[in-house]
């Protein structure tokens, strides 16, 4: 086993009778930031989900990855009937068992200080998104798989998130995220254009 956090070799992703992607080869090492880029419908989300092993029936090829994965998808797994603090504390991924102070710090980091005990249902879409991303500020996951993390965020939010990515990579973690917009992540970022893997 290498030190790579994720290694995909000749992965092909299908959807029903259609082959979305083929021969995807990618090696994610600690310290990497990978952006999966490509137009709508190319299969960014499908590939990310296959990395997360949420999709496996229609995925062929070799895939090995570390167990310590944090995945944030389109839907945030937040319950409107619970407060942001409870949502994070009892998160179904159970990746970490954060203390209340850690949670409050994480919520403050995404600019939600003062909302800890509000009902999540009352928050705006952008705020909910921030609650979901607050998980990135908790001690959890070496490999992050994030689906469109920058959507529904304002400029300041994007900047905070980019900083967090960089810090995570420098601390020996890695991030794989989908996005069709360019980012300011500098030379740490590698972009994987999925166009080259388009299936038949």
């Amino acid at each position: 086993m290498t030190t790579a956090l994720l290694e995909a070799r000749d992965l092909s992703v299908h959807k029903g009778l259609r082959q979305l992607l083929k021969d995807v080869t990618l090696c994610v090492e600690p310290g990497d930031l990978w952006q999966l880029a490509g137009g709508n419908g190319i299969g960014k989300t499908s590939l990310l989900r296959s990395f997360a092993r949420l999709a496996s029936i229609e995925v062929y090829g070799d895939l090995s990855r570390c167990d310590d994965v944090l995945y944030v998808g389109h839907s945030a797994a937040l319950k409107g009937a619970m407060t942001p603090r409870q949502n994070l504390k009892y998160h179904p991924s159970g990746l970490c068992t954060p203390t209340d102070t850690e949670i409050d710090e994480a919520l403050a980091a995404v600019g939600l200080a003062g909302y800890e005990n509000a009902l999540t249902a009352r928050l705006s879409a952008g705020q909910k998104r921030r609650v979901a991303l607050a998980r990135l500020f908790l001690p959890s996951g070496r490999l992050w798989l994030l689906d469109e993390p920058f959507t529904a965020l304002d400029v300041a939010g994007v900047a905070v998130l980019e900083q967090r990515f960089t810090a995570h990579a420098q601390a020996g973690g890695a991030v794989v995220f989908t996005s069709h917009q360019s980012t300011d992540l500098g030379d740490l970022l590698s972009v994987l254009d999925l166009e080259q893997f388009r299936g038949d």
């Binding site: 299908h14 959807k15 029903g16 009778l17 029936i57 229609e58």
Partner: protein, 244 residues
């Protein structure tokens, strides 16, 4: 060993196999079906208790027996597809379900028709009939689940799981229905199970059971061939075979 498994998993090989066997099996099965029916209808002696209505046995019992076996065939294909991810097993599972449903339907209809002269009612909650009705629902469930999914690869996986759950449950269902029946109605006339059945009645019955198995195999191959034609319409091997 691996080569054999590999062969069974290879669509062109299976297609060729079906193509070769069907022309033989089809006439044999049809002739056997007609012979068995005529034997049972016209040559077997009359049952002294039930009279001639018992002759329905030659179609009811084989259908019921093979319908149950068919569910296990389907579940086995489901298991193979789950464990080894053989795509062909998905196809086989899909091929088995409608046949099983048809067999259970035959068993149910003939059972109802048999019930009228025997008990004076079209529907009697006899243990075998009740079990058969539940088996029918299990088959219909698998078919409906398969149809409900748009993505057929995913649908096959779902059906494999369902048919395995059904397999674990079928013996329990059968036993519990027997138990329920024996408590509510002391057995009066049983459709089958009398060990003293005369050889002149038994042989046509055995013949029909074997014929129904053969018919199941034939239908399975036809359905397999149909599904393969559908799935591999674009493939080079099928095109070559058909245009040669």
């Amino acid at each position: 060993m691996w080569r054999i498994v590999h062969q069974f998993g290879s669509p062109p090989w299976v297609y060729r196999f079906c193509d070769r066997v069907i022309p033989w099996l089809l006439p044999i099965t049809v002739v056997a079906l007609l012979t068995g029916s005529i034997w049972g209808l016209l040559f077997a002696p009359t049952d002294y208790k039930q009279g001639d209505s018992y002759r329905i046995i030659y179609i009811h019992v084989p259908a019921a027996v093979v319908a149950l076996a068919g569910y296990y065939v389907m579940a086995l294909a489901g298991l193979v597809s789950l464990v080894w991810r053989v795509k062909l097993a998905d196809t086989a599972m899909r091929a088995a379900a409608p046949i099983g449903a048809a067999y259970t339907a035959i068993a149910l209809i003939t059972g109802a028709i048999w019930g009228k002269p025997t008990w004076g009612a079209w529907w009697v909650w006899d243990a075998r009939i009740t079990s058969m009705l539940i088996l029918f629902f299990l088959y219909v469930g698998v078919i409906a689940l398969f149809e409900a999914y748009e993505n057929k690869t995913v649908a096959a996986r779902a059906c494999a799981i369902l048919s395995l759950v059904g397999t674990v449950n079928i013996p329990i269902i059968y036993k519990s229905v027997d138990w329920w029946y024996s408590l509510h109605q002391p057995a009066s006339i049983k459709f089958t199970g009398s060990s003293a059945i005369d050889a002149s009645m038994l042989y046509p019955l055995l013949g029909m059971i074997i014929t129904f198995y053969a018919l199941f195999a034939l239908l399975m191959m036809l359905n397999l061939k149909q599904s393969l034609t559908e799935e591999y319409a674009q493939s080079a091997w099928l095109n070559k075979r058909l245009t040669a």
